[in-house]
């Protein structure tokens, strides 16, 4: 479980996130939605200990993220940011292999190699594993990054807009992978999504944020309500029943 207790982060007197009080359930896929500047990425980064929190506590699996050693947390939680740019030139396999760093500190054991292969195969990167990242398309590269964080085999996986720059087919494919990781591998995935309908179709819980506060949290059915969402996004929208569940129309 991920527990946020009175978490606050202030960028300036006017821009402040929190106080956040939130419990994200273990297992399954939770989507963070909300308008731009609502504090979704900030919240995710604070949970992933990439951003220092000004007040409050965050616990992941019972461990406080501010005080637990980073190398111990690296076996429990991982985070992938939206933009990834490396100065070094890496092949897909080298990148994914880095995911084993928390365990082997850079010396890959045969077991690490097998796990690396497993996630490369899982994300359909087998044919591309010896290609350099700069030779891949945006969608393939995004899959390689996701393979890297999955290869870390942490219970909790945080993703900041994994569908960014992906077309519809790639987005559906990516959400399919994430759903599979949650269902079959039993991981807990928390992801920032911009598309409400993707969140509605693929996630178990939705956390909606607005102006640095949690506006609503609940199951897909509880959040996919026209009034709630219109209010959060400040745009009139309707919810209709589609073949795969509720769909927001705007």
């Amino acid at each position: 479980m991920i527990k946020l207790d009175q978490v606050k982060k202030s960028y300036s007197d006017h821009v402040q996130i929190g106080p956040l009080q939130l419990e994200l359930p273990k297992a399954g896929l939770t989507a963070l939605i909300g308008p731009n500047g609502a504090g979704k990425s900030t919240t995710l980064m604070m949970i992933g200990r990439l951003l220092h929190l000004d007040e409050g506590h965050i616990q992941v699996a019972g461990l406080d993220v501010s005080s637990t050693k980073s190398k111990d947390l690296a076996k429990i939680i991982t985070i992938l940011r939206q933009e990834n740019h490396f100065v070094t030139r890496l092949t897909v396999r080298q990148l994914v292999g880095f995911g084993r760093f928390p365990y082997s500190k850079g010396r890959l054991t045969p077991e690490d190699e097998a796990i690396t292969s497993k996630y490369i195969d899982f994300l359909d990167l087998t044919q591309l594993e010896h290609r350099y990242l700069d030779e891949l398309s945006g969608g393939q590269r995004q899959r390689a990054y996701v393979a890297m964080v999955l290869c870390q085999e942490t219970e909790y996986v945080l993703l900041d807009e994994p569908l960014n720059n992906l077309d519809i087919a790639r987005s559906v494919q990516m959400m399919g992978y994430l759903r599979h990781v949650a269902d079959v591998f039993g991981r807990t995935i928390v992801t920032v999504l911009h598309d409400i309908n993707f969140a509605a179709k693929y996630s178990d819980h939705i956390c909606a944020m607005k102006d640095g506060q949690v506006a609503a949290f609940g199951t897909v059915k509880e959040i996919m309500v026209a009034e709630t969402l219109s209010d959060i996004f400040e745009t009139p929208l309707e919810i209709i029943d589609g073949p795969y569940g509720p769909i927001a129309v705007y």
Binding site: F98, E113, D124
Partner: protein, 355 residues
């Protein structure tokens, strides 16, 4: 396509069920050919460096081998070659590590103000105490005064800027550059007021040159440089992760701030040793690091660091060999290296894609 699109259609199990075979193992190189090329080039560069040092030792020795004064000449030349090895080791390792911790491959550790501080110390010696003082400003005392001043300044910079709440590497670099520029202007101002003869003596010191070095420092410098280099080499795996950036490194469990400060301290030790020993070599480290990235074609510091050293040693020894013994123009060696480095710097900047 449709089966590709839907991973749930495949029967995956959480256990290890892959088609993993030994030949798929992760290598630091993209292909076997690149790995072979790496080892061949590394051997070639090392042999080239050794060949040039051998040439420097015996070529054009004014006295015949049988003569008793043959060995003193060789001994003096050995001092120069050991100095080149130290300079190559310090500059190449420090620059590669600096590029990795700053995630930026177009800067050099001189930006932290080592060269500027060295120039200011030398200039103020002659400015305040006269030419005699500068000529007398040698020996272990003077050497350590400079090393401690340079180390002190850089540690102050790191400690102040990297331990606070608003720790920021970019800000630290900026302050380093501003301090360097300030020190440079100060020493330029002092140089303006020197007599031409004093200026001439000073100028010889301000160009990096292995002839500035004194073998008396070796017993202290060599152990320090070797220990620091080994420490840096042992951090190779951590450097690989740090080079991926702060966020990715943190997510992999690396204490980014502590690791960066540790590596920066090692870099300052190497840079201050090298600068105090032979003077500033602004572009040399950059030139060597950039060439070694191109030649090594791997991300792994275990391979990049030795390659950088071998290239650095080859560049220094061959430049000295050709300038001293073939073209008879000993004073222009550092000018040539800096010019060469400057041109490569521009070339790399213009094809930024390969950085």
């Amino acid at each position: 396509m449709s089966s590709l699109m839907d991973p749930t259609s495949k029967t995956y199990t959480p256990e290890l069920t892959t088609s993993h075979t030994r030949d798929r193992d992760t290598s630091a190189f993209q292909s076997k050919q690149l790995e072979r090329r790496y080892w061949i080039l590394l051997c070639l560069f090392l042999l080239g460096g050794l060949f040039c040092s051998f040439g420097l030792l015996v070529y054009n020795n004014p006295v015949p081998v049988q003569s008793p004064s043959f060995w003193p000449v060789v001994e003096r030349r050995i001092t120069a070659i050991v100095t080149m090895a130290i300079a190559a080791l310090c500059q190449s390792l420090a620059t590669v590590a600096f590029h990795s911790v700053t995630n930026n491959r177009i800067i050099t550790p001189s930006l932290l103000g080592f060269d500027a501080l060295y120039a200011t110390i030398q200039t103020s010696m002659i400015f305040f105490f006269g030419a005699g003082a500068l000529i007398g400003f040698t020996g272990t005392g003077a050497f350590f005064t400079q090393v401690i001043l340079m180390l002190g300044m850089s540690l102050l910079l790191y400690g102040w800027l990297l331990s606070g709440k608003y720790a920021n590497l970019q800000l630290m670099l900026l302050i380093g550059i501003i301090m360097g520029t300030g020190l440079n202007s100060l020493s330029t101002f002092m140089r303006r007021m020197l007599a031409p003869s004093e200026f001439d003596i000073l100028q010889a010191r301000l160009f990096g040159s292995v002839t500035n070095a004194d073998a008396a420092y070796f017993p202290i410098v060599i152990p320090i440089v070797i220990v620091v280099s080994i420490l840096l080499f042992l951090s190779a795996n951590r450097l690989n992760v740090i080079a991926l950036g702060k966020d990715v490194a943190t997510s992999f469990g690396v204490n980014h701030r502590r690791s960066v400060i540790y590596v920066l301290i090692l870099i300052s030790l190497l840079m201050s040793m090298s600068t105090a020993l032979i003077g500033p070599l602004t572009f040399f480290g950059f030139l060597v690091a950039t060439l070694s990235y191109q030649v090594a074609s791997t991300y792994d510091h275990k391979y990049v660091l030795p390659m950088a050293f071998s290239i650095g040693f080859l560049v220094l020894t061959s430049a000295y060999f050709f300038m001293y013994h073939i073209f008879n123009a000993p004073s222009v060696v550092s000018v040539i290296i800096e010019l060469f480095g400057g041109v490569i710097f521009l070339a790399v900047l213009l094809r930024k894609r390969s950085l």
